[in-house]
Symmetry: C2
């Protein structure tokens, strides 16, 4: 394919994407396919000779679309939102076109410098303390990671290295292996599985701290487990606080936890993967109070800020903590400007070496929406969540299972877990809308997450009517079965 | 921006990208900017109100392009190639448009299933042993990682977990911390820095094995260090072999190393990040002989197979080794088909949870090029490397520093490292072409990597004439300086 054909096919693809997104509400949100469906639809091996774009293009509807879960459908209420918008798609095209690999400043200065400045823009939008910003000569700064999992892992590794260095200087008789074996990381029992995974990867132990009745970790719960662990010779070194947990969007109590972490020499990382975007609205910013005690902070514009995957933004107060976790410098990666204070080599801030020009997506989205339109987007989702909550509360067969703070509503039928599992199954098998469950304490609950950029009040009403009807049907069937026994 | 405007702007962006790539040879390959250039060109913070696409668009040439290192210029000979082609850009657009996050089968079945089948296609193209393919009921299979760094880390983690389990079952008196402290990983002294980094992340020790005079690790060198380490109580558990090293594209001797690793219960991972793409040509496939002894194998289609970043393909013989490294199952990620043998949940194969629909890029590129055109691409690059080698060899002021096997030529002026450092500086300051150096033994050498999809014989000739003239100028200047002293 030459540039002339790309001009033609690229424009066809733009129209296809526009058509797809304009009419996505007409597609069934969750596919009908069974596992293994795709293999039988395509050849066993790659073709020897080139096929035409037309042949490939017509297979999109024949082979791919029947197996797609439509995350941008206004009937998609599962997981958390996957960010998307037209400006981010345009930026992503440009990113692909330039196609630089920005692992160092010299590998493409614009790629590195735009990222640093965009992270300052975004940090200011959520009113992060000055220490987290790069500015012209700050010690902190931001970086785009691929995912919150990577941000958590990077912060845990930085904390691990820092702690090992400190303990070895205090107690030179301990070996690195001794210290590693005694390190202990902590997170809420509501924290994302990626936190436990980060500890597994780094080869350190990790413990869940019990959350309270609002599914939040409070200071006393952390202090208790720290005291116990220190008494038995362990070395607490890392706490991951969550703002906006995945099961129910609860918030750990930063203002209690932060001072404890600071006093105990524990790195506090904040994972606000979903909730972080909301902090651009002044009325939600109080949820971030206490960030001043943290060493690192992360949220995912690729979830709720209309930027598409991947764009997980992370800030640290001291960039040297992050880069010091593993600085390795082979000659083919050195360049002339390396030692100047102005130069950032982002490969030292992340797990992979390579990286796309992802800050273009932030640049396009922040400019083409502006802060006010992004705030409107967040506020609409929160308003729709409360609309759904209100509908649930009006129906006495149902209960709300956690406070609705942002765009997630956890609810269930009053009754057993088994009833609610059957209920969720009936919803997902009808395939009019798509939800996933979570466990809160011993309760199996349904998560209703406002996700799509284009979801409106009518979709919420439709979803509720549908849910309500399925509940009626399920409860009636069960009643009849009972009477027949 | 609504769908109607996206149609218009998307098409403008397609034309911009086509223009950029068609005329990239007219841009200076390496930018003139100094560190910090970008911050002064843009506002301090994000705009409150939306800006137009036009405003953003015109800033691409004003702010971004002056700071871009043009990786796709036919005058770019630095690092290794960054893959790009028109089919991959089209696929990436579609990937963004669909915008699903395919961490589990249910999160978008097509995303998972196309990936499994594409990795089988690609595995067959390089004639990987059957055990590495998923097929309908294989125990192995492939996955797309973000980078070779992640593939190395995942294989090292799988090896770590597997070894700890085995040693604990043999010697229950050892704690996990004891074992961790005695684990030892190995790689060539020519291996990529990401291998050392993987060991650092995983909290295990790692040792470089000396390469021979061809910069390859042979069996006896590995056996020697294993014997020493076992004698001192260490537990060798992981060896990363490199096919196509970054400094000079040398190849470790798999046929010697593989049997040793198998005998010693050591996981052998093969990192063929750059060279792997060449194995689609029968005449280069012999370089992969010995892969049958490996546990895992990785290469980067995003380097040399015209797929854009990120697409790093990895295969394992036993998928359970990889998923067993950390299988965690919160309820919100469980789904109905989970336990069926047909279902792959790729989140267990990788570090992050989220993932783009990256297999679309392989699907588009493999079909629209076909195997033969991809082979032509590889062969052209190798031919051009030999053309450059030939030019160097005809000039007795120069020497070739490592055998030219694929698309990389390592060369230098006969003389001191200091002379060659000055020489490289003069080349890169002229900015007609772009190169980076490496160290081979104690020698500072210049790496000439054939990179661009559109590079032709004329560009090679131009580059050589330019290099030759700069050499003449540098040597003359030095001669004059000597005479004046």
């Amino acid at each position: 394919m030459d540039a002339a054909e790309f001009r033609k096919r690229g424009k066809e693809m733009v129209d296809y994407i526009a058509d797809y997104l304009e009419n996505i509400d007409k597609r069934q949100v969750f596919p009908d396919v069974e596992p293994g469906y795709l293999r039988s639809l395509i050849p066993d091996c790659a073709p020897q000779n080139p096929e035409s774009f037309k042949d490939v293009f017509k297979d999109i509807e024949r082979i791919i679309m029947p197996g797609v879960t439509h995350w941008h459908s206004p009937y998609f209420f599962a997981y958390y939102p996957a960010g998307s918008s037209f400006p981010t798609l345009l930026a992503d095209m440009l990113c692909g076109g330039i196609g630089c690999v920005g692992f160092s400043w010299a590998a493409s200065p614009a790629c590195t410098e735009l990222e640093t400045v965009m992270l300052d823009w975004l940090g200011k939008m959520i009113n992060l303390p000055e220490e987290f910003l790069a500015g012209k000569d700050g010690q902190g700064g931001g970086v785009i990671q691929g995912s919150a999992s990577e941000a958590t892992l990077m912060s845990l590794l930085a904390a691990r290295t820092k702690t090992i260095r400190r303990v070895r200087s205090e107690k030179p008789e301990l070996t690195e292996a001794d210290i590693m074996g005694r390190l202990m990381a902590y997170a809420s029992d509501q924290a994302h599985s990626s936190v436990e995974r980060a500890a597994l990867i780094a080869g350190v132990k990790m413990k869940n701290v019990s959350s309270d009745e609002t599914f939040s970790v409070c200071g006393s719960a952390l202090q208790k487990v720290l005291d116990e662990d220190k008494a038995s010779g362990l070395i607490p070194f890392f706490f991951c606080a969550t703002l906006g947990t995945t099961p129910c969007c609860s918030f750990d109590k930063l203002l209690e936890l932060g001072p404890i972490c600071n006093k105990e020499n524990i790195w506090m990382h904040i994972d606000a993967a979903y909730a972080g975007s909301a902090f651009i609205c002044p009325e939600f910013r109080h949820l971030l109070n206490g960030v001043e005690f943290a060493d690192s902070f992360n949220f995912n514009p690729h979830k709720w800020l209309l930027v598409n995957f991947d764009c997980s933004t992370m800030w640290v107060k001291k960039r040297s903590d992050l880069t010091g976790a593993f600085k390795l410098e082979p000659l083919y990666l050195q360049h002339q400007h390396q030692e100047s204070g102005l130069v950032t080599d982002y490969r030292h801030w992340q797990i992979p070496l390579g990286r796309r020009f992802r800050s273009l997506k932030l640049w396009f989205v922040l400019r083409m929406y502006g802060v006010t339109k992004l705030q409107e987007h967040i506020r609409k989702h929160v308003r729709l969540a409360h609309q759904f909550e209100h509908l649930v509360l009006q129906d006495e067969r149902f209960e709300i299972c956690a406070e609705v703070i942002l765009g997630l509503v956890c609810f269930r039928l009053k009754g057993s877990n088994e009833l609610n599992e059957a209920f969720l199954k009936s919803i997902n098998e009808a395939k009019k809308i798509h939800l996933v469950p979570s466990h809160l304490g011993k309760k199996f609950v349904l998560r209703f997450a406002v996700c799509s950029r284009t979801v409106e009040s009518t979709h919420i009403k439709f979803a509720w009517q549908h849910i309500s009807q399925l509940a009626t049907h399920l409860l009636n069937t069960r009643e009849q079965n009972l009477q027949q026994q």
